[in-house]
């Protein structure tokens, strides 16, 4: 599904990723943990094609395709999805209109028929239930004036609608209270399937109580320095990152 080999990337003049390797198979859930500044978010952004990150080495292959050659929209059309740590507010852009444009853009790129307004509404209603989202959110501008929890749920809602093959969740737990976290995690779990892989980027083990990963990787100084099962996350919770990274973890 996804094969990352020796990935190096800069932000400005600074090298953030320094040779990152990762293999994700179909249906697998991988957690990437690491202290602040380790490169977790940079990795998520590089995969999604955000501007401002310069790839200086290595390769990323997604379903046999060179991911790094693709525009951000092409990556999405091929089945990649990034749930943003800070979802962007789009004043004036209606949420329903946005979701329909996104879904139909993806369908069109795959040569599938676009959904008409009625089938689209039906599909939305169905997906809303999964996330316990109030349908008033659909009438509002995208993320505009949403609470932190609403924004994150709107991300997972988009994921439910677009049905990606690979979803990257960038610190989806940040800024959520325990109830909101549970709802978001339930939404994510409902979307787990043998065909859908996920990369869950997080600083804390907390999220992994709800979204149980198959693999846990520790990212530090731009490299994956330790991989293991979900026990690894528990050890990190207990002992902090210092025992692996050999550094004092920033408070």
């Amino acid at each position: 599904m996804l094969s990352v080999k020796g990935l190096k990337a800069n932000v400005g003049d600074k090298e953030i990723l320094k040779g990152l390797d990762l293999e994700v198979g179909p249906g697998e859930v991988h957690a990437i943990m690491g202290p602040n500044g380790s490169g977790k978010s940079t990795f998520a952004h590089v995969l999604s094609g955000r501007e401002g990150y310069e790839v200086t080495g290595g390769s990323v292959s997604f379903e046999g395709q060179d991911l790094l050659e693709l525009e951000p929209e092409e990556r999405a059309q091929h089945g990649l999805f990034l749930a943003f740590q800070y979802p962007v507010e789009l004043p004036g852009v209606n949420n329903t209109y946005f979701l329909k444009a996104a879904l139909n853009s993806i369908k069109k790129s795959r040569g599938e028929p676009e959904l008409d307004a009625i089938s689209f509404l039906r599909l939305m209603k169905e997906k809303l239930k999964v996330l316990h989202l109030d349908d008033s959110l659909l009438k509002r501008p995208v993320n505009f004036g949403f609470s932190g929890g609403e924004k994150k749920r709107n991300e997972i809602f988009q994921m439910a609608l677009l049905e990606p093959k690979l979803a990257i969740l960038d610190e989806t737990d940040s800024g959520l209270d325990i109830d909101a976290l549970r709802i978001v995690a339930d939404g994510v779990n409902a979307l787990r399937s043998p065909e859908r892989s996920m990369i869950v980027v997080t600083h804390y083990q907390r999220l992994l109580d709800y979204i149980q990963p198959d693999y846990v990787h520790v990212l530090a100084r731009g490299r994956i320095i330790r991989s293991g099962g979900k026990d690894l996350a528990l050890q990190l919770e207990e002992r902090g990152y210092g025992w692996i990274t050999g550094e004092e973890e920033a408070a």
Binding site: R50, E73, F84, G92, V93, L162
Partner: protein, 437 residues
């Protein structure tokens, strides 16, 4: 000195215009004198600092005098909005054409008709109204209009009259062999407590070269209310000038929406005077200027009386080599305490060649007031674009969605829905064919 180059705009009206009204002849003569005294504006004048009239003068426009009687209802179908129910008045090249209009049934106390018609049948109804809001001290183009107007729309609502359906003015321009200037004069007068909605649309058949020099005098009486929605969608080669004069009585409410989409060169002067306390004036605006387009707005809001509220919220989208000017002035006199005024002008520049000159000014002489102004000029935010693209939406559509989102705040004020939808479609269509990057 004389208004050389524009002299022909003043050529004697055709015989049928001779209404034989002395008072009208006097007003016209005074306006001619104003034209002669002022001459052609130069960039040294503050009001014309950013906009040259050279292009306009070079066209050598002559008055549009022949009535366009050859048009059939099916000819104008393309400019009508399906589903928009209105009392419709159609002017072609500045002239009222009853056979293309559809006034429908008017409630008691409401009169709608052509200026020329009413000058003939009931001149006294207009005697005090002509120049009643604009005054005699008119700037050049308004004075030209006063000197040379011979038709336009008249809406008169008696005390307490309420129009539930909007009045729709369709000003249609049709190209002639020679480039023509039409100078319609519109009078909208709402007496105390009267309420109406006016939709004013400037449209064309084809892409011809012409000029519209319109003047509107709008008065709203005590506790009256007018919603006034203007859509300037002239031909891409056209010149358009509007002088809009508002006189707002005690406790009255005026909501104006100004949408500027068309024209090669368009100038709008909006002048607001409060004639009573506790009046509210809300001016919303949206302009979209692309290659070869100049859209110029001048707002002049005069608070001479206390307890009045004014809002100006204009947004612009510029692309290609499009240019716009926003010159907004709010004046608060010494005695106009408790004035509440806020002005905002936000612009989105989609290309390096696009340009906007924005100049909001507050001149406050009272000490117990709430006044603010703000202006922004910026580009589409990269993080917004990326967010849309990360959801599979191609960059051109993503840009268009963000621009429409920016414009949405103003578009959403338009009503009824068929009007909003038509204008939103036109904005979307323009953006679709615009070189946005």
């Amino acid at each position: 000195m004389s208004g050389e180059g524009l002299d022909r705009w003043l050529e004697t009206p055709s015989a049928e215009d001779a209404s034989g009204l002395d008072w009208l002849a006097t007003k016209r003569e005074a306006a001619r004198a104003r034209v002669r005294d002022q001459g052609i504006p130069t960039s040294k004048q503050e009001a014309w600092r950013y906009t040259s009239v050279k292009r306009l003068i070079e066209q050598g426009f002559v008055p549009a005098d022949e009535p366009m009687t050859a048009l059939q209802p099916e000819d104008i179908e393309e400019v009508l909005i399906p589903g928009l129910e209105s009392h419709r008045v159609v002017l072609v090249n500045g002239r009222y054409l009853p056979e293309l209009s559809d006034l429908g049934e008017l409630p008691p106390g409401v009169r709608i008709g052509g200026l020329k018609q009413i000058l003939k049948s009931d001149p006294d109804a207009l005697r005090e109204r002509l120049n009643g809001v604009a005054g005699e001290e008119q700037p050049l183009f308004a004075a030209l209009n006063t000197a040379r107007m011979d038709d336009g729309l008249v809406i008169l609502l008696e005390r307490g009259a309420v129009l539930s359906q909007p009045v729709e003015l369709v000003h249609l321009s049709v190209g002639m062999d020679e480039p023509r200037v039409a100078q319609p004069r519109h009078i909208v007068a709402l007496e105390d407590g009267a309420q109406a909605t006016l939709i004013e649309r400037y449209v064309s058949l084809g892409q011809s070269l012409y000029c519209t020099n319109s003047v509107l005098e709008v008065s709203v009486g005590r506790d009256g209310a007018l919603k006034h929605q203007r859509v300037q969608n002239e031909s891409p080669n056209a010149f358009h000038i509007t002088g809009l004069y508002l006189g707002l009585g005690e406790g009255s409410r005026y909501l104006g929406v100004n949408v500027g989409l068309g024209g090669a060169w368009a100038r709008t002067d909006l002048q607001v005077q409060f004639t009573g306390e506790h009046a509210k004036c809300d001016l919303q605006g949206l302009y979209l200027a692309g290659d070869q387009q100049l859209l110029d707005y001048h707002l002049d809001v005069d608070h001479r009386l206390p307890h009045c509220t004014s809002r100006e919220n204009f947004k612009g989208i510029l692309y290609g080599k499009g240019r716009a000017v926003f010159d907004g002035r709010v004046y608060v006199a010494k005695d106009a305490q408790k004035t509440d005024a806020a002005m905002s002008n936000r612009n989105l520049l989609l290309s390096e060649g696009a340009e906007v000159d924005t100049k909001p000014q507050l001149e406050i002489n009272a000490d117990d007031v709430k006044c603010s102004h703000g202006t922004t000029v910026g580009q589409l935010a990269p993080e917004m674009l990326f967010y849309l693209r990360s959801r599979g939406i191609k960059a051109p559509l993503a840009r268009r969605m963000l621009c429409l989102g920016f414009a949405g705040e103003i578009l959403d004020v338009l009503e009824p829905e068929p009007l909003r939808e038509r204008v939103a479609d036109q904005v979307g269509h323009r953006l679709e064919h615009a070189p946005l990057a």
